[in-house]
C-alpha cells in the first residue's frame, strides 16, 4: 500500500511537470528541427576501400562515406585545447595517439563500428614537442633534445603494466638538432634538415646513427631556407621545399637521390594500374576553372595528363590531403584554407561531395527575418506617389489581380526563391560567423546553406575565459523594403590584431564594400536604438585607445541629440576593472568618450559577465501575491551581472556575483559563495539572474536564482533612469542542486515576453534540457505556495525529465553555444545549439497557445458544421410538414 502511495505521489508530481514541459511526439521528430554533424578541420586522413578515416584538429576520429561524405561513425575524444591527435595509423584496426606534452593515450578502434578496442597510456618524461610513428607494429616516440641528441623510445603493446606502456629508450647523437618541425618521416627513415646539411636515420635498424649529407651537393646554395615535407612512397622519399618549388628526394642505399623535375608542395603519390603517379594541384589561368590537377610520372616526371577542376567559387585555396586509386578512377581528398573538405573523382575531375567543416566552430550567430515577397512590397508602395490617383488605382488593381492569381494558382515567387517571410516568422535566416573566418547563412526550415562568404585572415576576439567570439550587429532588418537588411560583422585581423569590419546583406550575402580593415584595435562596440534616414541603426565602436567611431560615418548627425544618454562600459579581464564611459561631451564634429565610473574587483578575477538580451520585452511589470497585492519588478535595462572568482586560503575559491548598474557604476547587489568554483554560467533576463557553479564542499553543481523587486510601490512607471535611485531593489534568492554538468545556459526569448520563460541548459552529455523558470523562481518567505499562486513548492534538486530534453535522442557533440531568437508567433522561440554539431529547433514554453494544433481536423469541423446546417433545414421542413398534417387531422 505504501509503495502504491509513493507511486501515486510521483505520478501526481509528474503530471504537474509534464503540464509545464512540452515533449515531442514520435511523428514530430525532424518536423521542425534539424541537425548537422561535423568533424572539424581534418589533420590526418586514411583511405580504406569505401570509406575515409579522418582525424581532426577538434580531436575527433571519424569515418566518412566515400561516395557521399556522410559520417558513418564519429568518436569525440578529449577537449582539443588539452589533447591533440598526433598519429593515425590504419592497419587491421585504427590506431590513434592523442595527448599533450608528456601524457599520451594510445587507442585502437574497430574500423567498422568505431568502438574502442583497447587503450594504453604513455607517460613520457620530456615535455617538448615530439613525433610518433609506427614501425613493425611498435610505436616509436621521437623526442628531440635541442643541440644534443634525439631520444627514440620504442613501445610494444605486449609490454605494459596496468595499461601503461613501457618503452625502451635509446639515444642518438644529434648536436645540430633544433626543432622537430625541421624533420619528417620518410618510410622507415627520419629526415631532418639542419644548417646546410641533411641528416637521416634508419629507424628500423638497431644502433643506427644519423647519416649527414651536405645540402649544396644536390641543391643550389642560393636556394634559401629549406623545408621538408612528408611524401608517402614505398621508397623512402620526401619533398624539399625552397622558394615554393619542391624537389622530390629519395633515400637509396644511404644516399639521397634528387629527382630532376620540379613539383608543387602539395604533391601526393598514387599507385595503381601498374603506374606510379604524382598528383598535384596547380593554379589555372582559366577563370572558370581555377584549379588544374596535374599528374606526373614518379620516375621521369613526365606529364601523364592534366585536368581542369570546376572549383566552386568562395572556397579557399585547396591542398591534397590524400588520394587513392580505384582501378579506372582515382579519388583525391582536398582540404581548403576555410576548412572545407572536397572529394574529387578523376579522371573526369568531378567534385563528388563537399563538407563545410568550418561550421564545426561557430563564434557568432544572428537570426534574421526574411523580406516580404515582392507582391506584398508592391502593396506597400501604393501611396508612394500620392498625387497620381489613376496611377494608384491601376497599381491597386494590378496587385489585387496578382493576389487573386496567387491565391488560385499558388505563389510562384515563394516557390522560386523560397526566402520569403511567412506569416508567423518561423522561417528565418541564421547568419553564423565561424572561427575559420567564413560566414554562412542557414535556412531555419531545412538547415541548408543559403550563401557563404569567406573572409581571409580574420580571427575571433578572445573574451572572458578564453572564449572566442566575433560580433554580429543587425543595423537594419528586412522590414524596411525596398531597402535590404544590413548587418555588420566585427572581428580581428590575424596579422595586425586590428579591427575588421564587414558590412553585408544577411539575406543574399552581398557586400558592396567588402572587408574594411580598421586602423585600430576594437575594445567595445554597441548598437544604438535610434536610426538614420536609411533606417540604419548606428554602430559605435570603441578602440583600445578610447577613441570612438560611428558606422555609418554620417550617423553622428542622428545621434548628436542623444549624446548625453549614451553610455559605454568595458570590462578588463586582466586587471579586473570595469570602467564606464559617457558620451556627454561629444560634439557633432568630434566624439569623445570620458570615464564616468570605475569598479575595481581586484584581487578577484572576472569569470563571467551577463547582460540582458537587447531585444527583450518585459510584459508584466509585477508579480501578484496571494493577497492580490502587486509586487513590482525591478527591471533595470542597464544592469550587468559580473561573476568573479577569488582564490582564498581558507575557502579554496570564493565565487562572488555582483549586479552593477552600467550607467552609474553603482553596485546594486553583491553575494558570495564560499568554496565554489567555475565554470560559471550566467543567464540574465527581466528582473532575475540564474547562475551555475561548482560547489567544492558538496562536490556538485548548483544553480542559484536571484530575483529583484522594487517592492509594493513602483518608483517610476513611465521611464526608468539609472540616475534616479529612490530605493535599492529587494533581492529574493534561492539555490538548487543541478544533477548535471552544464556547458552553456540560455533563456528563451519571445516577441512580447508574455510567454513563460524556459531556461535551456546544455549538458556535457550532449543533451539540452529545458527547465521552467517557475521551478527556479525564488519563493517568498512566509507566503503560501501552491497552484493558486502559480507557484511550485520548493524542491532542492532540479528534476531532470527525459521529456524536457529538446534534442530528444540526438546527442550533440561538444556544445559551445545556445542562441535564442523570438519568432513573430508569441508562443515560439527559435533555438540554435552549436558546437561540433548544429541543432536547430523551436520551443514553445507555454505550448503553442496561439496556433491551432497540427493535427487539428479542419475537414471534420467543416463537415460537422455543414451537416448540422443541412439537418437544421431538413428538420425545419419536416416539422412544418408535420404541423400541417396535424392541422388537417
Amino acid at each position: 500500500m505504501a509503495n502504491f502511495r509513493s507511486i501515486y505521489k510521483i505520478q501526481v508530481f509528474l503530471t504537474i511537470l509534464i503540464h509545464l514541459t512540452v515533449a515531442l511526439y514520435e511523428d514530430q521528430v525532424g518536423k521542425f528541427d534539424w541537425k548537422r554533424s561535423f568533424v572539424g578541420k581534418v589533420k590526418f586522413v586514411s583511405f580504406e576501400a569505401k570509406r575515409i578515416i579522418v582525424a581532426t584538429e577538434e580531436n575527433v576520429l571519424a569515418t566518412l562515406n566515400l561516395n557521399n561524405g556522410d559520417i558513418q561513425w564519429r568518436q569525440i575524444l578529449e577537449d582539443p585545447s588539452n589533447y591533440q591527435l598526433e598519429l593515425l595509423h590504419v592497419n587491421k584496426d585504427i590506431l590513434t595517439v592523442s595527448g599533450v606534452r608528456n601524457n599520451w593515450l594510445v587507442r585502437t578502434w574497430n574500423i567498422n563500428t568505431g568502438t574502442l578496442l583497447a587503450e594504453w597510456v604513455i607517460n613520457a618524461e620530456r615535455t617538448v614537442p615530439s613525433a610518433f610513428t609506427i614501425i613493425n607494429g611498435k610505436i616509436l616516440h621521437l623526442v628531440p633534445i635541442t643541440g644534443s641528441h634525439l631520444e627514440i623510445t620504442t613501445y610494444s603493446f605486449i609490454d605494459h603494466e596496468n595499461g601503461v606502456l613501457k618503452g625502451v629508450t635509446r639515444i642518438v647523437s644529434a648536436p645540430w638538432l633544433t626543432n622537430i618541425s625541421n624533420c619528417v618521416f620518410a618510410g622507415l627513415h627520419y629526415v631532418c634538415v639542419g644548417s646546410n646539411q641533411l641528416h637521416f636515420i634508419n629507424l628500423d635498424q638497431e644502433n643506427s646513427k644519423f647519416i649527414t649529407k651536405p645540402l649544396d651537393t644536390f641543391i643550389e646554395s642560393e636556394a634559401g631556407k629549406i623545408i621538408l615535407i612528408e611524401y608517402k612512397h614505398k621508397t623512402p622519399s620526401f619533398l624539399m621545399l625552397s622558394n615554393n618549388i619542391a624537389k622530390l628526394a629519395s633515400i637509396v642505399d644511404e644516399n639521397i637521390v634528387i629527382k630532376p623535375f620540379d613539383l608543387m608542395p602539395n604533391a601526393v603519390n598514387v599507385v595503381g594500374n601498374g603506374k606510379d603517379l604524382i598528383y598535384q594541384l596547380e593554379a589555372n589561368d582559366n577563370k572558370e576553372k581555377l584549379i588544374r590537377i596535374k599528374v606526373k610520372d614518379f620516375q621521369t616526371g613526365a606529364d601523364e595528363f592534366s585536368v581542369d577542376l570546376d572549383y566552386p567559387l568562395g572556397l579557399g585555396a585547396p591542398i591534397i590531403l590524400g588520394a587513392q586509386n580505384r582501378g579506372s578512377s582515382s579519388d583525391l581528398l582536398l582540404s581548403t584554407t576555410d576548412n572545407a573538405l572536397l572529394l574529387v573523382r578523376l579522371p573526369e575531375a568531378k567534385i563528388l561531395w563537399s563538407r563545410e567543416e568550418a561550421l564545426s566552430n561557430i563564434v557568432a550567430t544572428e537570426f534574421f527575418e526574411l523580406p516580404i515577397s515582392e507582391l506584398d512590397a508592391s502593396i506597400e508602395h501604393e501611396f508612394d506617389n500620392e498625387n497620381d490617383i489613376f496611377g494608384m488605382f491601376s497599381h491597386r488593381i494590378s496587385t489585387q489581380i496578382n493576389q487573386f492569381y496567387n491565391l488560385v494558382f499558388g505563389n510562384k515567387l515563394l516557390q522560386n526563391s523560397g526566402l520569403v517571410r511567412d506569416e508567423f516568422g518561423l522561417h528565418k535566416i541564421i547568419v553564423v560567423a565561424t572561427r575559420a573566418g567564413k560566414l554562412f547563412a542557414l535556412d531555419t526550415l531545412s538547415g541548408s546553406i543559403a550563401w557563404s562568404y569567406r573572409l581571409p585572415n580574420i580571427q575571433p576576439f578572445l573574451g572572458l575565459n578564453g572564449q572566442e567570439q566575433m560580433l554580429l550587429y543587425v543595423q537594419r532588418t528586412a522590414q524596411f523594403a525596398p531597402l535590404p537588411a544590413h548587418c555588420i560583422l566585427l572581428a580581428q585581423d590575424t596579422i595586425t590584431g586590428n579591427g575588421i569590419l564587414f558590412e553585408f546583406d544577411p539575406i543574399t550575402g552581398y557586400s558592396d564594400k567588402g572587408i574594411q580593415k580598421l586602423p585600430y584595435r576594437i575594445s567595445q562596440a554597441t548598437l544604438l536604438l535610434q536610426h538614420d534616414k536609411n533606417f540604419l541603426k548606428p554602430l559605435l565602436v570603441l578602440s583600445q585607445d578610447n577613441e570612438l567611431y560611428a558606422y555609418p560615418r554620417d550617423a553622428v548627425s542622428v545621434i548628436k541629440d542623444h549624446f548625453s544618454t549614451i553610455f559605454l562600459y568595458t570590462a578588463n579581464s586582466e586587471t579586473a576593472i570595469l570602467t564606464g564611459f559617457t558620451l556627454k561631451y561629444s560634439t557633432e564634429n568630434q566624439m569623445v568618450v570620458k570615464k564616468s565610473w570605475d569598479i575595481d574587483l581586484k584581487p578577484s578575477k572576472i569569470v563571467a559577465l551577463g547582460v540582458k538580451p537587447q531585444n527583450e520585452q518585459v510584459h508584466s511589470q509585477g508579480k501578484v501575491l496571494y493577497d492580490r497585492s502587486v509586487y513590482y519588478k525591478y527591471v533595470n535595462p542597464n544592469l550587468l551581472a559580473v561573476a568573479t572568482i577569488s582564490p582564498d586560503p581558507m575557502h579554496h575559491n570564493v565565487l562572488s556575483i555582483y549586479l552593477i548598474d552600467g550607467v552609474t557604476g553603482l553596485v546594486v547587489y553583491g553575494t558570495s559563495h564560499k568554496r565554489a568554483k567555475g565554470p560559471v554560467h550566467l543567464v540574465h533576463s527581466e528582473n532575475w539572474l540564474v547562475y551555475s557553479y561548482f560547489n567544492e564542499r558538496f562536490r556538485r553543481t548548483e544553480l542559484a536564482a536571484l530575483e529583484l523587486y522594487e517592492g509594493h510601490l513602483q518608483s517610476n512607471s513611465t521611464a526608468f533612469s539609472s540616475f534616479a535611485v529612490s530605493q535599492l531593489p529587494h533581492i529574493q534568492s534561492q539555490s538548487y542542486i543541478l544533477p548535471l554538468v552544464p556547458l552553456k545556459m540560455a533563456v528563451t526569448l519571445t516577441e512580447r515576453g508574455i510567454t513563460n520563460k524556459f531556461l535551456l541548459v546544455a549538458m556535457s552529455s550532449g543533451a539540452v534540457l529545458e527547465i521552467p523558470w517557475l521551478l527556479l523562481q525564488p519563493r517568498f518567505e512566509n507566503m503560501p505556495c501552491g497552484p493558486e499562486e502559480s507557484c511550485i513548492p520548493y524542491m532542492p534538486e532540479i528534476p531532470m525529465h527525459p521529456e524536457a530534453i529538446i534534442n530528444y535522442n540526438q546527442t550533440l557533440g561538444r556544445i559551445r553555444g545556445i542562441e535564442v531568437a523570438p519568432a513573430r508567433l508569441e508562443s515560439t522561440s527559435h533555438i540554435l545549439v552549436h558546437g561540433l554539431d548544429i541543432f536547430y529547433t523551436r520551443v514553445a514554453p507555454s505550448k503553442t497557445f496561439d496556433v491551432l494544433k497540427e493535427d487539428f481536423d479542419h475537414k471534420l469541423i467543416v463537415l460537422v458544421l455543414s451537416a448540422l446546417i443541412i439537418a437544421t433545414f431538413v428538420t425545419k421542413k419536416l416539422a412544418a410538414r408535420k404541423a400541417l398534417k396535424q392541422a388537417w387531422k
Binding site: 564616468s596 570605475d598 577569488s646 521611464a719 534616479a724 529574493q732 542542486i737
Partner: protein, 226 residues
C-alpha cells in the same frame, strides 16, 4: 570646523540574509570633486570619510561648508545639465590605495539640496570594490536652476555595503517537509478507517432519494397514460 557624524544602520532586506565579513577593517576615503565641468574636469578636495569598523558600518564624515565660489559653480553645473563627478581615494587598513570615479547629474544634486548618499561596496573579504555617489530621487532632470541659499553644505549619508552570503540548497527542510507530509498521510489513514457507508454516505444518500422519488412517481405516470 563642522563635524558631522552620521551613523548608518544597514537595513538587511530579508532576515535570512546575513552579511559576511571575515575580518573587520577600516577605511579612510579622501573625496575630491569636480566643480568645473566639461570633458576634462579639475578635481579639488571635498572632505574625508572615516569608516572605523566595516562590520558595524559606522562612518564619520568630515566635510566643510561650501565656499561661495563653489556654490556658484555647482549652480552653474546644474543649470548647464553637466555631470558632478567625485574622485574617491580609499586607503584600506593594509595601506593599499584605490581610486574610484563616480558621476551624478549636477541638477539632481542641486535639486536634492546637496543631500547625497555615498555607497561603499566591499567584497567578502572587506576589499573595497566601488564607491558610488547616489542621489535619492524618483526622477532625473535635464538641468535646473536652484537658488544659491539651498546649496550650502553636503549632507552626506554613507552606506557601507557588504556582499551577502549566498543561500545554499535547502535540503534539510525539504526532507522534513516530505516526512511531515508522510506522517500526516499516515495519520489521515488511521482516521479514515471507517466503514464504506460511513465514508461515502453523502454520495449514496442523494442517489437513494432520487431512486425513491422516481419509483414513487413512475406508477402515477403510467397510470395517467392509461
Amino acid at each position: 570646523m563642522n563635524w558631522t557624524a552620521i551613523i548608518c544602520i544597514l537595513i538587511s532586506y530579508l532576515p535570512c540574509h546575513t552579511f559576511s565579513l571575515e575580518h573587520d577593517g577600516s577605511a579612510i576615503i579622501h573625496l575630491q570633486h569636480a566643480l568645473t565641468g566639461g570633458p576634462d574636469p579639475q578635481f579639488k578636495d571635498r572632505g574625508k570619510i572615516t569608516v572605523n569598523s566595516l562590520r558595524i558600518g559606522q562612518a564619520i564624515v568630515d566635510q566643510k561648508p561650501l565656499a561661495e565660489a563653489d556654490r556658484k559653480l555647482i549652480q552653474k553645473l546644474a543649470r548647464e545639465n553637466d555631470l558632478y563627478r567625485i574622485q574617491a581615494t580609499v586607503i584600506a587598513n593594509d595601506g593599499s590605495k584605490k581610486t574610484f570615479l563616480s558621476s551624478v547629474k549636477a541638477c539632481m544634486l542641486a535639486e536634492a539640496e546637496l543631500d547625497d548618499r555615498l555607497s561603499l561596496s566591499f567584497d567578502y573579504l572587506g576589499h573595497i570594490i566601488g564607491v558610488s555617489l547616489v542621489i535619492a530621487s524618483k526622477s532625473s532632470c535635464e538641468g535646473s536652476d536652484v537658488p544659491l541659499e539651498k546649496l550650502k553644505e553636503f549632507t552626506t549619508n554613507v552606506y557601507v555595503r557588504h556582499t551577502d552570503t549566498a543561500t545554499i540548497p535547502d535540503t534539510a527542510s525539504y526532507i522534513e517537509k516530505i516526512e511531515r507530509e508522510r506522517d500526516a498521510k499516515e495519520k489521515g489513514d488511521v482516521k479514515d478507517n471507517k466503514s464504506f457507508l460511513a465514508k461515502y454516505w453523502m454520495y449514496i444518500l442523494p442517489v437513494v432519494i432520487l431512486m425513491v422519488i422516481s419509483s414513487a412517481t413512475n406508477p402515477e405516470a403510467q397510470g395517467g397514460g392509461q
